[in-house]
């Protein structure tokens, strides 16, 4: 059974209260860091841990922290990205709802490391009830001397605020989030300058995902090296996986990176297989923005080795036969699901969520949605399939933020692996309205 570093105590009654959380060893990292470590030493431990951003990009957190500009007399900020909106991802909500103090503890320890004295948690507006839980926990942390002036007599001051979004996927992109936090539309900013130099209100800012900030707690408590021993290669530590779709037991699981995909889908401790005794058709392992994998590439790589839940193994084969760990939004499709319908559904999502700033994304996402609608609803042509590939190429890499790529990749991957099913929708439109295509039996010719 794999170790849990984050949600071990999630189901302990009363763990959302300061008192109970403290009894279970909570806030030890704050004591350790503020009383016995310099801020740079905390950064060093996070670097040693090999922790990679848990929001989806997988960028090393310690390195991100070390980029933070520290000009004299300029305020710095830590901003927690709790905008969790990537379809298939619901781990941060679970963590914050069950263990609000774990996030607050991580915010304090991390803010100390970065020299931030005013930190913010930006949470998606739909999680208003979670915001209330966090507000209560923050008030408790103030009352117990973990926030405010001179925390634990260390001379370190920190104010922490939680504030809601208003319903916009794009605000999960860090510069859009900062715009939103400044009270504006969530239009991503041109980079450079990066937030580490000019972030919130023009001040140097680090933006980290909820889970990344929470992971700082065990890293400081047990040391970066101990954390790095868990996992495989550059995929260190544990990861929260949000499992959804046609599974016997969907939900949030904390896994040690390196677990096999086979074990995760079928194992008794995890998802326990495909619901209703059906067969696996496909899987999107890292949130809706990453490439879909057909059943024969889910538990094995194209080379025939076991596919593991790591950044490297899920990406094995590149986009030709691999995908990405992303945010850990693990979406499973059974044999009755229609890939064309699902691809259209996600294209509609991206068209809806494009901020409209860059033409290739604003126009391209809407165009793809229209073409996919045609294909799904029986009026598409074979040329439409190549048209989608064309539009894809025109969006990818041509936008300020990654939403364009995130919209393009899933469509490209769906066509790459399920071209037969798309063509069948064109050739047998009536049949495609009455039944599903079923499983693709073998890899298509490249």
């Amino acid at each position: 059974m794999s170790r849990k570093l984050l949600i071990e105590h999630a189901e302990v009654p009363g763990i959302a209260s300061f008192e109970t959380y403290r009894k279970h060893g909570g806030y030890a990292s704050v004591e350790k860091a503020l009383k016995t470590m310099s801020p740079d030493e905390v950064v060093e431990e996070v670097k040693k841990s090999g922790l990679r951003g848990r929001g989806g990009a997988g960028f090393p957190t310690g390195m991100k922290w070390s980029f933070l500009a520290k000009p004299e007399g300029v305020e710095r900020h830590l901003v927690c990205n709790a905008d969790e909106s990537e379809p298939g991802t619901f781990k941060d909500r679970y963590l914050m709802e069950k263990l609000p103090h774990l996030l607050i503890e991580g915010m304090i320890t991390s803010s100390y490391a970065l020299g931030a004295r005013r930190s913010y948690i930006y949470i998606r507006g739909e999680f208003m009830y979670v915001l209330r839980i966090l507000e209560k926990a923050i008030a408790e942390a103030y009352a117990n001397g973990m926030l405010g002036k001179n925390i634990l007599g260390s001379g370190y001051d920190l104010d922490l605020v939680v504030t809601p979004g208003g319903g916009a996927y794009i605000c999960g992109e860090e510069t859009a989030l900062l715009e939103s936090l400044e009270g504006k539309r969530g239009n991503p900013r041109m980079k450079p300058p990066f937030p580490a130099v000019k972030g919130l209100w023009g001040n140097p800012t680090v933006v980290n995902n909820v889970e990344s900030i929470a992971a700082v707690v065990p890293i400081v408590n047990e040391g970066g090296e101990a954390y790095a021993k868990i996992g495989i290669e550059r995929s260190t530590g544990t990861k929260l996986i949000s499992a959804s779709g046609n599974l016997v037991r969907p939900g949030v699981y904390e896994i040690e990176l390196g677990l096999s995909v086979e074990e995760f889908i079928y194992g008794d401790n995890y998802c326990r297989g495909i619901a209703n005794g059906k067969k696996l058709k496909a899987c999107i392992p890292g949130g809706s923005s990453v490439p879909i994998l057909p059943h024969y590439l889910v538990t094995k790589t194209a080379a025939g080795t076991d596919r593991l839940m790591t950044y490297e193994s899920l990406a094995d084969g590149g986009f030709a036969s691999g995908s990405m760990l992303g945010s850990g939004g693990f979406i499973v499709f059974d044999e009755d699901q229609c890939i064309v319908r699902n691809t259209w559904n996600f294209a509609r999502f991206y068209a809806h969520e494009s901020c409209g700033q860059c033409s290739p994304c604003r126009e391209g996402t809407g165009w793809m949605e229209k073409v996919l609608y045609r294909l799904e609803h029986g009026t598409g042509t074979l040329e439409d399939i190549s048209l989608l590939e064309e539009i894809n190429k025109k969006i990818e890499g041509n936008t300020i933020c990654p939403l364009g790529d995130a919209a393009a990749w899933p469509v490209a991957a769906a066509i790459r692996h399920f071209r037969d099913e798309f063509e069948w929708h064109v050739k047998s439109p009536q049949e495609a309205q009455t039944r599903n295509y079923g499983l693709i039996q073998a890899p298509l010719e490249a």
Partner: protein, 175 residues
């Protein structure tokens, strides 16, 4: 009048309740001096909590409170999809329609609610009790199909649960 109407700025600002004003002042106080605009999304949520939707008059009042131009409120209120810019029913049912929910039956859920309430997505029942909307991913993918109403999540829905939920909402909205 809509926020994109040329005369929108001339619409009279409306007043908020003492409770809403107290909450507005609290959320403004969360941010540093001269950064009060950061509270705008919190404020729009509070306004919507009081009125059910966000009117141009309400936006003009928010502009006064934050000492910013009305357009700065309009552009924000129209960007974020949680804000209803038209009057809505007492209970706004926002059903998640995105991929993971679709895999577990959100299409059927939407049709069932349409049939049950005799309205289409985007419409309000004649008695003003319910508005049905579809929304994109609400971050509850493992517990679908689901919907949100008044910031509450109703998860793993089936016909029986929907019936119970609608009855309970009708009952609660009577008082």
């Amino acid at each position: 009048m809509k926020a994109d109407h040329p005369q929108a700025v001339n619409e009279a600002p409306i007043d908020f309740s003492a409770h809403t004003m107290a909450e507005i002042n609290r959320v403004i106080g969360l941010f540093p001096e001269r950064k009060q605009k950061s509270a705008i999304l919190s404020i729009l949520h509070l306004v919507q909590d009081e009125f059910g939707w966000v009117s141009v008059g309400a936006m003009n009042r928010v502009a006064q409170i934050l000492d910013i131009q009305p357009i700065e409120v309009y552009e924000v209120a129209t960007f974020y999809t949680m804000f209803h810019l038209d009057p809505v029913g007492k209970n706004v049912l926002e059903v998640c329609r995105t991929g993971p929910c679709q895999l577990v039956g959100s299409d059927d859920l939407i049709s069932y609610i349409e049939e049950k309430l005799d309205i289409k997505v985007g419409e309000t029942t004649k008695d003003g009790m319910f508005t049905l909307k579809t929304v994109e991913c609400l971050g509850a993918c493992g517990y679908g199909p689901m919907l949100m109403c008044k910031y509450q999540f109703y998860e793993r829905l089936n016909k029986e649960k929907v019936n119970e939920m609608l009855d309970a909402m009708r009952e609660a909205s009577k008082s």
